[in-house]
């Protein structure tokens, strides 16, 4: 922990960013598991040591799977399988699962078996005639990248192995891509809002890739006329593939996701325009803005005191890029640091466009880790951070007054999913700011004084 001025104590060895990367994201294995567990009526087999199974459990929770319905298996690899290869134990485990009442078994492989050359694709092909369900191998070792890379790997496999070659197009229909590539810890609420919005506009959803998605939806994905990407961090490759293979047009491309007034308004407008539902879109905007105004007027959040406060945004691109406009326009703060977990070209282009449009010139860190974030915070010295519990600790010793925890929340338990998308999403974000503002005044010292 640094001293009051935020400088590192003299004599302490300050590691270079290259030698100290404390990553925010989990590995590709986790992303693949998250994607596979979003398919209903299927099971997942982790071909991995038992420690990696923890990442499956995490994915299980993220996809809100029901342990009464979804089975996860693990080959629990040990040194014997690393020495001699783990294909035998994989085959044995698949055979043991042959009576499961499932439509598909996703087999995902971790680092160890991939390094020693286990061919999970060949094992699955060999055993396919012995089992009644489909075997879908997804080679997804953690070293392939972050959880978002894992989502792309799994989506690629799922689409190529499960989707039928042709399907009669359903006019004005859409398929939703990568709703789970979102740092909002209760992202299913964002997906629900999107589905409700599409329903109001009369747009049928052919498939969701993936969340509680029946296998049949994926099989029939060729029927979709358009695709709607719900993440800035993953899923673009799937959208490109759907366009190339089935001519499925990607809509709302290059527009930040609907977080905040302006983002929501233009996202809805783009959607309405594409599907000839402009009137409905305009109605939703008017209704939503009115609801937000009326609620704020009645509840009087105190966050107005944060006007022109220098702020930092540390999140994935899905939440982080739309937050730039939200923080600037709705909160009337000044973003001085934008640190995003990912760094792909589409992320850079979108953020550049937004910053140019807003006339902002903050420090930008792509592919950030905790060390780079801390370094950025020390340089910029914001008063408010929109980030996670991690930044609460990463900003120790710095003059940061408020850390609004909007992503990767560890200090709270959410029973009800809360969206950031749409108009209720705006109120949810206001609520986060307000609670942080209130809690900041309830320091240990002040509580002690109040009691005695």
């Amino acid at each position: 922990m640094g001293p009051e001025n935020g400088e590192e104590p003299a004599g302490r060895r300050v590691p270079s960013p290259e030698s100290c990367t404390d990553p925010y994201l989990r590995c590709a294995f986790n992303g693949a598991a998250q994607t596979a567990l979003g398919v209903l009526g299927c099971a997942l087999l982790a071909h991995s040591p038992q420690g990696c199974e923890y990442l499956v459990n995490n994915a299980f929770a993220s996809q809100e799977c029901d342990y009464m319905e979804t089975v996860t298996l693990c080959t629990k690899l040990c040194v014997d399988e690393i020495v001699h290869g783990g294909e035998d134990i994989l085959a044995r485990t698949i055979r043991e699962a042959k009576d499961l009442p499932i439509s598909a078994l996703f087999v995902i492989s971790a680092c160890g078996p991939e390094i020693v050359g286990d061919d999970i694709v060949a094992v699955c092909e060999t055993l396919q005639p012995e089992v009644k369900f489909r075997l879908i191998p997804i080679p997804s070792p953690g070293f392939r990248g972050s959880q978002y890379d894992g989502i792309d790997i799994a989506l690629d496999t799922i689409l190529k192995r499960l989707a039928k070659k042709r399907g009669e197009k359903i006019p004005g229909s859409v398929c939703l891509i990568a709703p789970h590539a979102n740092a909002n810890p209760t992202w299913p609420a964002d997906l629900t809002w999107v589905k409700q919005t599409l329903s109001r506009m009369g747009i049928p959803v052919i498939a969701t890739l993936t969340h509680k998605t029946p296998l049949s939806e994926i099989e029939n994905i060729a029927s979709a006329e358009t695709s709607l990407l719900l993440s800035h961090d993953a899923g673009q490759k799937a959208a490109d593939y759907l366009f190339a293979a089935y001519g499925i047009e990607q809509i709302c491309k290059g527009i930040p996701l609907p977080i905040g007034m302006t983002n929501t308004q233009r996202w809805l407008a783009a959607l309405g325009e594409r599907f000839g539902a402009q009137k409905t879109a305009e109605g939703m905007v008017a209704e939503g803005e009115k609801m937000v105004m009326a609620t704020c007027r009645r509840k009087m959040p105190m966050a107005r005191f944060l006007y022109r406060t220098p702020a930092a945004i540390v999140a994935d691109a899905t939440v982080g890029i739309p937050l730039v406009r939200f923080v600037t326009e709705e909160m009337e703060m000044t973003p001085e640091l934008v640190a995003l977990y990912t760094s792909q070209r589409t992320v850079r282009e979108l953020l550049d466009k937004e910053l140019k449009d807003l006339g902002l010139n903050p420090k930008v860190v792509y592919g950030t880790d905790v060390y780079k974030t801390r370094a950025g915070l020390r340089e910029v010295r914001p008063k408010v951070i929109f980030g996670s519990t991690i930044e609460r600790h990463a900003s120790e010793g710095l003059p940061v007054a408020y850390v609004v925890e909007v992503v990767r929340i560890m200090r709270q338990f959410r029973m009800i999913n809360r969206e950031y998308f749409g108009y209720t999403g705006i109120l949810n974000l206001f609520e986060c700011v307000q609670n942080e503002w209130t809690m900041a005044w309830r320091s240990k010292e002040k509580r002690y004084e109040a009691k005695w």
């Binding site: 690393i82 290869g85 050359g117």
Partner: protein, 281 residues
């Protein structure tokens, strides 16, 4: 117990040197165990009368196949005695194309250790004959896990064998810092260009900070013995080649120095040293 590892480029003659060294040490009265750490499991063939002995990992695989584990392995399944009285072990490897051979070598060595093989047979000298090159982290395991304390590099006058030996020295340099392992010397297994090799290899040894231990000449006697599946000191005890291996055994047992090597990091420097000797020739 002395624990000696023989490393070097593939095909340079490590198994020939290791086997003849084992036989010479045996002749001097030491109880010797030779451990082949190569998935090809051909290290001990010369000592075993030209036969391949069953490997530790083969036995391990067999036990796993019948639902048992390494604790079901017995010493007499994996340790064999040569006609000359040398204990022979082959680590072996996984089936070709799967698994990790490097980790396999470590597993095999661990099994030997767990079964108290060295104590059971009262071994004075263990000779580890390790796969051609340190191709991955797994093959440095005998050093990393402290099984091999004294490392000898085998090379010839061929530039690539010196290059490979230098690479192995880099691995030894990295790993030697962790314990009492170190480079003990260089053995030249001649490819026939005696004068050149006698000049270049000692200089290379000097660059690594170690000593040049023995020159083993290219000889039809050694090749004939190999073909017969016998060590030179056993097959042709009166030959001058047998004397070479006796000298090697003596030199190694008398050599107690181990150093952290100083490998040549610049390839150009290694090439320059080599060229200088080529010109002199």
């Amino acid at each position: 117990m002395r624990q000696i590892a023989i490393y070097g480029k593939g095909g340079i003659g490590k198994s020939t040197i290791a086997s003849n060294l084992s036989a010479a040490l045996n002749e001097r009265g030491y109880t010797v165990m030779q451990v082949g750490c190569d998935p090809k499991r051909d290290s001990t063939r010369i000592l075993a009368g030209g036969r391949f002995i069953p490997a530790v990992l083969e036995e391990h695989r067999e036990q796993l196949r019948v639902g048992k584990d390494e604790y079901a392995i017995k010493l007499d399944h994996i340790v064999f005695k040569s006609p000359g009285g040398i204990y022979l072990v082959e680590a072996g490897g996984p089936e070709p194309g799967v698994g990790c051979a490097g980790r396999g070598v470590l597993t095999a060595l661990q099994i030997l250790k767990d079964l108290n093989a060295f104590e059971t047979y009262k071994i004075d000298v263990a000779i580890y004959d390790v796969l051609g090159d340190v191709v991955c982290g797994g093959f440095s395991m005998p050093i990393r896990e402290g099984f091999a304390k004294e490392i000898y590099l085998v090379c010839s006058g061929g530039f690539m064998s010196i290059y490979a030996a230098n690479n192995i020295a880099r691995a030894v340099q990295r790993l030697a810092k962790r314990g009492d392992t170190g480079l003990a010397g260089i053995i030249c297994n001649s490819n026939g260009d005696d004068a050149f090799e006698r000049a270049v290899i000692p200089e290379f040894a000097q660059k690594l900070g170690t000593s040049f231990v023995q020159f083993v000449p290219r000889s039809p006697v050694i090749q004939a013995c190999e073909l017969e599946g016998r060590a030179v000191v056993e097959h042709s005890p009166g030959s001058k080649e047998a004397e070479v291996f006796r000298n090697l055994a003596k030199a190694i047992m008398e050599n107690t120095t181990r150093v952290i090597p100083t490998p040549v990091n610049d390839l150009a420097e290694l090439e320059k040293m080599y060229r200088q000797h080529l010109v002199k020739r």
